[in-house]
């Protein structure tokens, strides 16, 4: 995309951000409010020498991008909560077989088909715990059209660097909202490529990790013997169904993210320095909270906002950093609230079941109550 200013929706910015990050393969099945991502990718990927496939369903979509990732491409799919529910089996497979993929979830009111065109934040826990088993993924969640574009670059870089699925969260409001966005010149975009084996095929164990706990990833078709199994496997990639192999593999899959958590954490600390009360918020909801914090400050209440941009791994050190009461404002009936509560006793939930974000005065009233 030519550098400059554009007027885009969150969905368009997500698609363009992915292309700018180097994504050249997309397989998906349209669903509101993510469909415009597919629409944009269908238009733009062929122009960039990439491939777009409209799949038969969400299960096919995620299977296709996992396969395409093994060919060395940067890959993505996008859906909404109902689609993630279908994809979760293969998200576990991608985590277990360490395949870099980016999955966008444009969150809408839920459970089930819920509120297709309206916002929800009910998939925050699902992003981390959707598939079975103990594994770590990375999840990012922007709050503006500009940040959607910028953060997509990070999403792909994380996926490639850590060989992990990245669950990129947006929400119905952000997906369909238009704002001004600046696209930087191509040479200012930093792209990270996955590590490749430096040894010839006959000397390479494809799941042997380096010191950073991340194994280099060969491309299919280059002579490396690739056995990628969802079964517990050894460094060769072959099933080894023992507690010892499980311990080695599953511990490493988790540790490769946990030990790099601080590099992955992104938060915005808005007026938190001198705050007496901090509201934790994410995505579109944080835009209401930001205004409420400003309004509270005008009344003399020292309020601040901790905006989680990295949702997973959970940036708990930022919660521990402040010794003040917290409010967690989220569009669900309590999810990140429970994570915050792990690190502080003094926390209150400001929930909303979905369909809209909190009005700024609803947040303001909660702030006033908390400091009384």
């Amino acid at each position: 995309m030519k550098p400059g200013y554009y007027f885009w929706s969150g969905d368009i910015a997500a698609a363009e951000g992915a292309i700018a990050a180097g994504c050249r393969f997309y397989a998906g099945y349209p669903i509101t409010p993510s469909s415009e991502i597919a629409e944009r990718m269908a238009l733009r990927l062929p122009q960039e020498g990439g491939k777009f496939i409209e799949m038969e369903d969400e299960i096919g979509s995620i299977a296709a991008i996992i396969g395409a990732s093994w060919t060395g491409k940067k890959v993505m799919t996008a859906t909404a909560g109902p689609g993630i529910s279908l994809m979760n089996e293969n998200i576990g497979l991608a985590a277990m077989t360490e395949v870099p993929i980016v999955v966008i979830n444009a969150m809408r009111g839920a459970p089930s088909t819920g509120l297709p065109t309206l916002i929800g934040q009910g998939d925050l826990m699902q992003a981390k715990w959707g598939s079975h088993g103990s594994y770590e993924i990375i999840s990012l969640y922007p709050d503006s059209v500009q940040e959607t574009f910028d953060l997509m670059i990070d999403a792909f870089n994380y996926a490639e660097k850590y060989r992990v699925p990245v669950m990129f969260l947006i929400d119905a409001m952000l997906a369909h909202m238009y704002e001004k966005i600046y696209v930087p010149p191509d040479d200012e975009i930093v792209r990270i490529e996955r590590k490749r084996p430096t040894t010839p095929p006959e000397e390479t164990l494809i799941y042997k990790a380096d010191d950073d706990l991340i194994p280099p990833m060969p491309r299919i078709g280059e002579g490396y013997k690739i056995h990628a199994s969802g079964l517990t496997h050894n460094e060769k990639g072959y099933p080894e169904l023992t507690p010892q192999a499980q311990e080695r593999l599953v511990k490493r899959l988790n540790d490769k993210i946990r030990k790099h958590a601080e590099e992955i954490w992104k938060v915005e600390e808005y007026k938190t320095d001198d705050a007496d009360i901090i509201v934790v918020a994410m995505g579109s909801e944080s835009r209401s909270v930001r205004l409420a914090v400003d309004l509270a400050r005008r009344e003399g209440i020292k309020a601040g906002m901790l905006r989680l941009i990295t949702i997973w791994p959970f940036p708990y050190k930022f919660i521990e950093k402040y010794n003040v009461p917290y409010i967690v404002a989220e569009i669900n009936y309590g999810q990140i609230y429970h994570k915050v509560r792990e690190y502080t006793r003094d926390v209150e939930l400001l929930p909303k079941m979905g369909g809209e974000i909190h009005k700024p005065d609803e947040v303001l009233r909660a702030i006033r109550r908390a400091v009384q």
Binding site: Y5, F7, H176, M177, K180, R287, S288, L291, K359, P360
Partner: protein, 181 residues
């Protein structure tokens, strides 16, 4: 500075397009910040349709209308549904053949234009929303005339530009006249 604008009408009247054009004009051509959101029913035509534009000198926080400074309406049902979104002393802009205000609108500044009738006279009722935008631009001044036109120009297919330019100017000139009255 935070200016809130709400457009309301029926699917097919170009209510979403009007909001998009206005928000883009402010952000891209007037160099301000803006956010544009939309809401429409499942029907392609005839269902309720509304769009919201927030314009600000700084990054827009809450992206939707809290209390609108300007309410631009093109159907009676939109009048019924959205009038309470207009802030005290706010400005109500209506297609006078499609919206009949009652006593509830007494405390607002009201500007009326027969936009759909004008559009038919120009040759196509489809440009009624562009006439409304011309009218809105002249009345409110929240977006410059140049910016609004550039934004229209970019949104409308080339072959309809001449028609839309006539529509925009018709609305703008009518607005200039009404403002003086």
């Amino acid at each position: 500075m935070r200016i809130e604008i709400k457009f309301g009408g029926l699917g097919g009247q170009g209510i979403i397009t009007a909001g998009y054009i206005t928000a883009k004009a402010a952000a891209i051509y007037d160099g301000k910040e803006s956010a544009f959101t939309q809401d429409y029913s499942a029907e392609a035509r005839g269902g309720a349709s509304t769009s919201e534009v927030i314009i600000s000198d700084e990054k827009v926080t809450y992206p939707q209308v809290i209390k609108a400074d300007y309410l631009v309406l093109m159907s009676q049902s939109a009048y019924r549904d959205y009038l309470d979104k207009l802030k005290e002393g706010g400005t109500l802009i209506i297609d006078e053949d499609l919206v009949k205000p009652d006593e509830k609108a007494e405390n607002f500044k009201i500007y009326k234009i027969p936009a759909t009738k004008f559009a038919e006279e120009i040759g196509n009722p489809i440009v009624a929303n562009i006439i409304m935008l011309g009218f809105f631009t002249a009345i409110t001044g929240v977006v410059s005339k140049d910016a609004m036109w550039k934004s229209i120009e970019e949104r409308i297919p080339q072959r309809f530009l001449e028609l839309n330019e006539r529509a925009f100017l018709k609305g703008y000139e009518y607005g200039e006249k009404m403002k003086k009255m």
